[in-house]
């Protein structure tokens, strides 16, 4: 889906880089580590650790919250996943937070759980696909359009652009369907290299951009 998460090349997001800090710890504050851990546990409870559903929940975190803080974004996704699966009522976290700070707010009752589920061919995301590959190294391919709604790993900035297949990657679970529990629908994956001038026009820096594309994201370039 379109959204602030799809950041590549978005000039309104350009700004000074954060400093490189060799000694930056994994978690800068204690709450960050706890937010990290409980988000993983929340996703385990809500979706049986569906990585794609987790990413799609991140994409649905309101923009201001998404941009404000990385682990704040994780918390937002955890709450979305728990609400989507009926494990937590809307407003439950706010009410509990108020009570932790000395309030006496009535907390909402738990809804009826309705956890989404999906058949899985095993752990992880690498899969075997028997169908022959549609593309080979050296093929010219165009990244085809994508729906505005739902999860995808086709970035906005390569949409409609033409590049060259440079490597064959293992077949993987298709994020576009798995995120919505429709099925794993594994597909072949390709690394596709784009010339920077084909992405951004003739005036910018000269370099190559390589991105992994699921087979259904690509069509043969005329």
């Amino acid at each position: 889906m379109d959204g602030v998460h799809d950041m590549g090349g978005r000039t309104e997001l350009f700004g000074p880089l954060k400093p490189l800090d060799r000694d930056e710890p994994a978690f800068k504050e204690p709450w960050e580590g706890r937010a990290f851990a409980i988000t993983l546990l929340a996703n385990r409870a809500a979706t049986a650790s569906n990585l794609h559903a987790f990413r799609h929940a991140l994409e649905r975190v309101p923009e201001q919250q998404y941009l404000a803080n990385y682990y704040g974004r994780w918390l937002g996704s955890a709450e979305i996943l728990l609400q989507d699966s009926g494990l937590l009522a809307p407003g439950a976290v706010e009410a509990r937070a108020a009570n932790l700070r000395g309030g006496s707010v009535e907390e909402p009752a738990d809804p009826e759980p309705h956890k989404p589920s999906m058949e899985t061919a095993g752990g992880g995301n690498m899969r075997t696909v028997d169908a022959p590959r549609a593309f080979a190294v050296g093929d010219r391919v165009t990244a085809v359009g994508r729906p505005d709604a739902g999860h995808t790993r086709l970035t906005g900035y390569v949409r409609g652009r033409t590049g060259t297949v440079t490597a064959l990657r293992p077949a993987q679970v298709l994020p576009d369907t798995a995120a919505h529990f429709v099925g794993e629908s594994p597909e072949h994956v390709y690394s596709v290299e784009f010339d920077s001038h084909d992405l951004w026009g003739p005036d910018g820096e000269q370099f190559t951009l390589t991105i992994d594309c699921f087979e259904s994201y690509l069509e043969t370039s005329a």
């Binding site: 350009f14 546990l41 990413r55 649905r60 594309c213």
Partner: protein, 195 residues
């Protein structure tokens, strides 16, 4: 939707969610501490640095690393979440690779741990796929016009790891001493390793 209410700080929000999960038997303090401990002490850039130092000192290992990264890093015990399929790219005097995840913050956890602030930040994620030389220069890495720049956007479950160029003047250093020179930034490709 779980829109963030102003006035609830993130630490309190975390505590609230954790207590709700614990009450429902969906989380427990011991598991939370275990997850935190793994990424604070066991999994971090020191793992990737060992891989780099070994590749710099063992040509046969380097060959295995570049042909099957997943298997080669598993030889050193490095595998796990966000490391299902590792592809290693070699930086040289004439080719410089740099890695980003523009859609979220995918990162090779088993080798580098959790991503640092700059990698997760919107400035890096938006800019490096459009002006990588300017990004690297802002961090002090100037690349000449003769160096081919290759940006890799991690959009599938393949995780890219950079084998930086071994700095000159390090011939006498041991593998362990070499590992001490290697920074996480160089293993993402935004800097070079200094001697």
């Amino acid at each position: 939707m779980s829109d963030m209410q102003p006035g609830i700080d993130l630490a309190t929000r975390t505590e609230a969610l954790e207590s709700l999960l614990v009450e429902r038997g969906l989380a427990d303090a011991k598991t939370v501490e275990t997850f935190i401990g793994i990424y604070e002490t066991q999994v971090g850039p020191m793992n990737g640095a060992k891989v780099v130092a070994k590749a710099w000192t063992d040509p046969e290992y380097k060959e295995r690393l570049l042909s099957d990264g997943t298997a080669a890093v598993a030889e050193l015990g490095f595998k796990g979440p966000q490391g299902e399929h590792i592809v290693v790219l070699e930086n040289t005097a004439t080719e410089h690779n740099v890695v980003v995840c523009t859609l979220c913050s995918c990162y090779p956890w088993p080798l580098l741990g959790l991503p640092p602030s700059w990698y997760k930040d919107s400035a890096y994620r938006s800019r490096v796929v459009k002006e990588p030389r300017a990004v690297l220069a802002e961090w002090g890495t100037e690349l000449g016009p003769d160096v081919a720049v290759k940006v890799h956007d991690s959009s599938s479950e393949v995780r890219y790891f950079i084998l930086p160029e071994r700095p000159a003047g390090t011939e006498s250093l041991s593998e362990e001493e070499l590992a001490g020179l290697v920074t996480r930034d160089a293993m993402v490709g935004v800097t070079k390793v200094a001697s």
